[in-house]
Symmetry: C2
Subunit: 83 residues, 2 copies
């Protein structure tokens, strides 16, 4: 059993209105030193695979097909064996 | 200038209907080996602080007050100096 973590982030060239809204909220709390807030997704899942390579392949395919929008988003994955 | 990354995750005891929906989507793509999908938030921000300690303090306070719901969510932060 493997445990995968996927970070999905908006590409730098894409505007992030949700991040802007959070940034305004942060400033209204008095934290003026905080800038460039950007919001992404974090997905965790377990993969029942025979090897780390297979688990990585499945995680990558699922990320490409379902979790990330390739036009607007990048993703990075880490896979660890689960005790 | 420091760059902070915050992962906000639902506590294990809290049901994650969004994760369940994604899991159904993953299964309908044919990836039956994927289980326990859980969705969290990933927030990146810059902090203009004099030291790493100050940047961590600000990041932690912003996470507690605004980014995470302490009743339902946990968060973890990492802070790196930005070149």
């Amino acid at each position: 059993m493997y445990h995968s973590k996927i970070l999905v982030t908006l590409r730098q060239s894409i505007l992030d209105p949700q991040g802007k809204a959070v940034e305004h909220g942060v400033h209204s709390l008095g934290y003026d030193s905080v800038r460039n807030v950007r919001i992404g997704k974090f997905v965790e899942l377990n993969v029942d695979a025979a090897s780390r390579e297979e688990a990585e392949k499945i995680t990558r395919e699922v990320s490409e097909k379902l979790l990330a929008n390739p036009v607007m988003e990048d993703f990075s994955i880490t896979v660890e064996e689960k005790k």
